[in-house]
Symmetry: C3
Subunit: 445 residues, 3 copies
């Protein structure tokens, strides 16, 4: 204890906490990003509904993750689930003590030297992100109350369980899977739940015509969509470097840069791909390209070089454009491209760890000394296999459980609004109000 | 002094300053949040006017708080006002020295170990918030220049004086009132000034019909309103934990979480209340519900448990919906619900300290060892009485002074635009421009 | 090494890195601010094009600054350009070592004790800002691909070279020019490139009539413009204090306040000037007034008193209004006022260092002990002459090189869209989509 009335250890805890909270606030702000991208890319008649869904889903995440999710995800238990201090995150915990000094039931987070509620709130904003991914995919036709119930279930049970496997000391962590900030845990998981929802809901009226052609349904507000995309990128500077849970200077700077380069390359590659395939560079494709690059670098950001990050981003930006065409060919109607961004690139990003990871980078940055070199680094496949196992396990679990949950909701409360309500718009049908009162709007059917 | 060329004490000052400035920037950003919520919930024909008011009000706050307000609020003086170093915040001050080492005229902030201008700018953004609350309540009918003059007076005199009583070492602080981040100092104070303005202005043309019924006047842009609400929530993560004025890890994490839980519960309870009373969940009610939860937790955030925060939020979200109906029944026309959010829930939040505060939490977090247990914690009423006294004193002072100021403005410059201007919209009348040039808009009278 | 497993020096690096990254994220977010101000002040038919340009320009900045720009700007070389470790920022560097301990090829940044990639990403977001300034000035008529190519050239070559002269150890730095956060390096440089672009493009169709009068072309969305302005101000709290590259408490707090006061005074003075000259306070003038104040304080923010900052802001806010009239009189068509904000006030702000700088402030804050007192402080002109030399040198170089680049683009790919496309809007012509699908919009020719 110096004359400053503070020890070096206390200062370290303070600076780590400051960083974790800053990252938390940035990730929280992504709620606005998702709300804007999703509502902007849909029609004006469904705007209030989409905004309300995105607004309320974080409230549901907060309560359900507090009541049950956090305990399932991070508490001591077995390889499949946490079993201690389940309700209200109320188990024993002496954070910010770390390592051997840590005594508590959330030992999978015992390495992080920040107060308990700092750990909790950071994990909470991640959980919220997972749930919002579903929102865009099922937009413009889902019943409001059924969506709310599904959101509760994914935040309270589905996300925490697969999170436990990978981040909570579970079997995929033991297997050696690495997913630094959640290409799998957050993005592909959210994507599989979204795919299940789309399959149970069916496409929007008029999207796929009898003659086999597809009717483009344009977003009503590209200003909104751009606001959303740049807020998401801004938030991702909390999302990716934040998973250090400590103000580790080399790691923070490296991860911020891999994140930035991947997004930049993805913007450029999606622009070129869109320009070639669609004749003109389509802003919604470029926006989704940017997000695809961010999703893809989320797992490998802490283990790859700048050059690898650039390559990962370039692939992601191309992948997302072809993926949008692919889902339309299958007549799987995803209004905002959530599957192409989060599912396809969540899977790609998770596998990219097995392709591009460098053990020396993980060791030097202190972000994962145990990660193995990827296939393109030294030809070994062990990391790629672990990543593949994780991707597959999460796919099977999340998709099948989600199908069951959506099916039960369909049988009981119903999933889809009436045809009349869908044509008139969910804003009037579900909320009794319009988004742009006073503006003259075509009824965009 | 180590080989790093820096002492532990200097590091502590640096990290505290970093936190105070981060919190400042977040609270500053709330200016955009207010501008968006208020303009979004009003009609398109008054959008430029509302945006301009919100934009310029922070400029006025900056200059008036610098010229006079800060000195009145925080300088040494008597129980009712500061009296030293009044003009241009130019009194003696040796910040970041603290405690006994502090020598200067702003001793009510002498406990905070950050540079003088860090203290100043943090307090400035709070002052700006108080003035913007008025803006929404008087929207769509007030003369631009009269609003600007009132804003100067509230920032230079009204807010600093009551701020002195509670945060500047004045009589309410001596009485034992606790208002951690300003449910009373900022929110109910702004609310009383707003109520006075509404009473002097009268309702908008057409709002209350002869037959006793109320005509709903819809907001023109729910996208704006949602942007605003999420920016405000984001900013509140600076507003509430920022009042620590030091990077105290346990306090920061705890307060961020009580803030988050209260907002989440308020969203859910306002959704349910709106669903029941209005048949469908109204997004503007949910937005105001969220803000109500944030306002209500502002005073008690540093003294209550997570469970209490959840209860406070749940009450706030219900309260705000009934409050909106209540003011309309009284024919008090508040276009954006500012009274229901800031006045009603500012009062409730201030009283909530007296109901839910736990002395052990204030002591453990270092946020207020002298706070007494609330009524619901151990049955004692002493804290509740102190809170009630503060609420009442601020109500009487701010409301009556505001009435006088508004009345003088009415007699001299005039408060309300002409009927023709109100019908045509203040954008053309006051600014000679439209917000959405080129868009076809119904004349929403 | 204490029991905390960390040294005081490591803590210092961590806190400095945290600050540099926070500032980086804030400046990054300014991309959204520029996108909103520019698109909001133009017509709806060109919105997608402007948003796309602003979105993609940061991607181009990222890649070009990484591939070549950073090396040219900061690596060891001669007085005119960096010459070491040019490609992919891959030169030797042992950051965060500082001073004598630093060994590497980027010695102009050797004083900053943060990891290499933290230095890089902070400089990158500055580079991105410079390129976006051009975007608004050439809006509503430039070919998309020609703009992209110019953006690459300014980020890879033009900006890095003049940056080397002033910040990279070049001849203007040796001459004693001070430009703390880039009134010249970023803003007037971007402004000169924009002026060259405007001259090569010519005015928009219909802007200047045969009879000598000017047709006002209104922005389509003042909500967007206000969002943009407040995001830019928010980002400027990273832009100006961030150039410390260390969490120096006194400097951070002082600079945040000079920045805030200048913006506030500029808002007030532009409001008054607009009110007097245009009869009514025009929101777009007030927005540009705010930005003008921020640009003008960017160079002197770390060397001037609060009172000087207020004077600088007041002048900037008046200057910008008359400047808008001035360019229109010259029939130089700048749709968003970029020349008035960035060029005119970038020049003014750079000269303001020579007028208002106080050596004692630079020394006390540690932001520039070698700056000389300005003309208005002690009557000496040496600093003003150095500033004038810098302003002139950058003007000549950037303007003439930009003219050549724009001319080559005009001869080869073409600069301007066809008359038909300009009338119909670039959204359809360049991107095949509309910004506000479903909304009824007048064809604002």
């Amino acid at each position: 204890m110096s004359e400053a009335g503070i020890t070096l250890q206390e200062v370290k805890i303070a600076i780590d906490t400051l960083w974790v909270l800053l990252a938390t606030f940035l990730v929280f702000f992504m709620n606005l990003g998702f709300a804007m991208v999703e509502s902007g890319l849909c029609r004006s008649k469904n705007t209030v509904n989409i905004l309300t869904k995105n607004f309320i889903v974080f409230a549901i995440a907060t309560i359900s993750f507090w009541v049950i999710g956090f305990g399932l995800m991070f508490s001591d238990g077995n390889s499949f689930t946490g079993l201690s201090g389940l309700l209200f995150a109320s188990g024993m915990d002496n954070s910010p003590a770390t390592g051997d000094a840590y005594t508590g039931v959330y030992s999978s987070l015992g390495w992080a030297g920040v107060p308990f509620w700092a750990k909790f709130i950071f994990q909470l904003v991640f959980c919220g992100t997972c749930a919002t991914i579903v929102s865009g995919a099922v937009a413009e036709r889902i019943k409001f109350h059924s969506f709310l119930i599904f959101s509760f279930i994914i935040c309270a049970f589905i996300y925490p369980l697969i999170g436990h496997w990978i981040w909570g000391g579970g079997w995929l962590m033991e297997l050696g899977m690495f997913d630094f900030s959640g290409s799998t845990v957050i993005h592909s998981a959210g994507g599989w739940a979204a795919l299940a929802g789309i399959l149970m809901l069916g496409p929007r009226i008029g999207k796929y015509k009898m003659d086999g052609s597809t009717k483009p349904i344009y977003g009503h507000n590209m200003t909104s969509a751009t606001i959303g995309a740049l807020i998401l990128w801004f938030g991702w500077f909390g999302f990716n470097p934040g998973s250090t849970l400590s103000a580790n200077p080399e790691a923070l700077a490296h991860i911020a840069m891999t994140t930035c380069i991947a997004a930049a390359m993805a913007i450029l590659s999606s622009t070129v791909t869109s320009w070639i395939t669609q004749k003109k560079p389509d802003l919604s494709m470029i926006i989704n390209g940017c997000l695809a690059g961010l999703v893809a670098i989320t797992a490998p950001c802490a283990f790859v070089s700048m050059t690898s990050a650039a390559v990962i981003g370039a692939i992601a930006g191309t992948l997302v454009v072809f993926s949008v065409f692919f889902w339309d060919k299958l007549r799987i109607d995803d209004p905002v491209g959530a599957l192409s961004v989060h599912l396809v690139n969540g899977v790609f990003g998770s596998l990219a760890v097995g392709l591009f990871a460098e053990q020396s980078i993980g060791a030097e940055l202190g972000t994962g000394a145990l990660v193995s070199n990827g296939l393109f680094i030294d030809g070994s496949v062990s990391q790629l296999l672990a990543q593949g196992a994780g991707v597959l396990a999460v796919a099977l679990f999340v998709f099948s459980v989600s199908m069951v949950v959506w099916a039960i909701l369909k049988k009981t409360l119903g999933l889809r609004v009436t045809k009349e309500e869908e044509l008139a718009g969910l804003d009037i049908g579900e909320h009794g109000m319009e988004a742009y009162s006073g503006f003259q709007i075509f009824n965009n059917l």
